[in-house]
Subunit: 186 residues, 2 copies
């Protein structure tokens, strides 16, 4: 029989509970102390598993991007792929409370992860005929637009006013389509 290591506490558990806390209390309520309490542990215990709070936020942001990526199906051409990815990211960002603000703050967990992430996202685009430069530039444009839109959309009083004048999701969609359509082919 193998000696099962007591799992005690896991980085995955921490991130999962952090999302629950975020849903319940919002970004301002997301403190290390409250997070620890939910995990039935004292606050300093978290620092054995994690360097600091920024790292927790970074892992959460990485999860949100990863979910968007995995929801993006195969596509016939790079424009279709970018449109799908943009919609998936928008969905991923809005399906967590304060998701956009979190991603605007949270740095990626590590430089190496950032590079890996960029590579993973660029891959399907290069497979569809773009060169590396364009794959990165176009991906950056779509992420920027989507992140910015969702941030804007979450911005309280402005939103309440604008909602009377337009359908947010529809306007986002047509904006995204416009952007992708305008991107140069090669």
């Amino acid at each position: 029989m193998v000696q099962h290591p007591m799992p005690s506490l896991t980085r995955d558990q921490i991130v999962a509970e952090a999302f629950n806390l975020l849903e319940a209390e919002g970004l301002e309520g997301l403190s290390m102390r409250r997070l620890a309490a939910r995990l039935k542990v004292q606050a300093p215990a978290l620092y054995w598993h994690v360097n600091d709070k920024a790292e927790v936020l970074g892992m959460m942001a990485a999860d949100i991007y990863a979910a968007a990526y995995s929801r993006t199906g195969p596509a016939q051409d790079w424009r279709e792929w970018l449109r799908q990815f943009g919609r998936a990211l928008h969905l991923s960002l809005t399906s967590h409370r304060d998701g956009a603000r979190l991603c605007a703050i949270g740095r990626p967990p590590s430089p190496t992860d950032a590079i890996a992430q960029a590579g993973r996202i660029a891959a399907p685009l290069t497979a569809l005929g773009l060169n590396d430069q364009q794959a990165l530039a176009h991906q950056a444009a779509v992420i920027s637009f989507t992140l910015g839109w969702t941030t804007f959309e979450a911005n309280g009083p402005m939103r309440d006013f604008l909602r009377q004048m337009m359908d947010f999701d529809a306007t986002f969609s047509t904006g995204l389509d416009s952007l992708v359509k305008g991107l140069p082919d090669k």
Copy 2:
């Protein structure tokens, strides 16, 4: 002779000093207590002039948008206006430390101000032939793209990696041009 009211402390002074503090210490260093100290006053004194910290951040964000607006010159058509405004906003956001993160967090000072702001920005676009709906939608698209891009650009490790592969300002410019070009005319 008129009785001159002692100016004591002004909302404008508070915002101006808040920008100095932001430049010096970054967004995490921007606390009400430090801000008060710079103004040679105790922290609670600020709360006579201001409701809370969020209001200070909101006024700062409003200043950044206003600067972008006032830097945008007259234009021949709405596409040219939007391109100019996007570049001006990008400049305005990057010319303050943590400017993008600040605008991603800061709500506008009040709902009424948000409406006024939206109106002011939509005005030059309707003057150039767009209807109200499109003026708002296109403006929202450009702001979103610019805010998102600048946020992305400020995101530490990711930036250091991407900088080797592309010129940030140039890629922003062509992305903005692509977006504006793709926006429907009527």
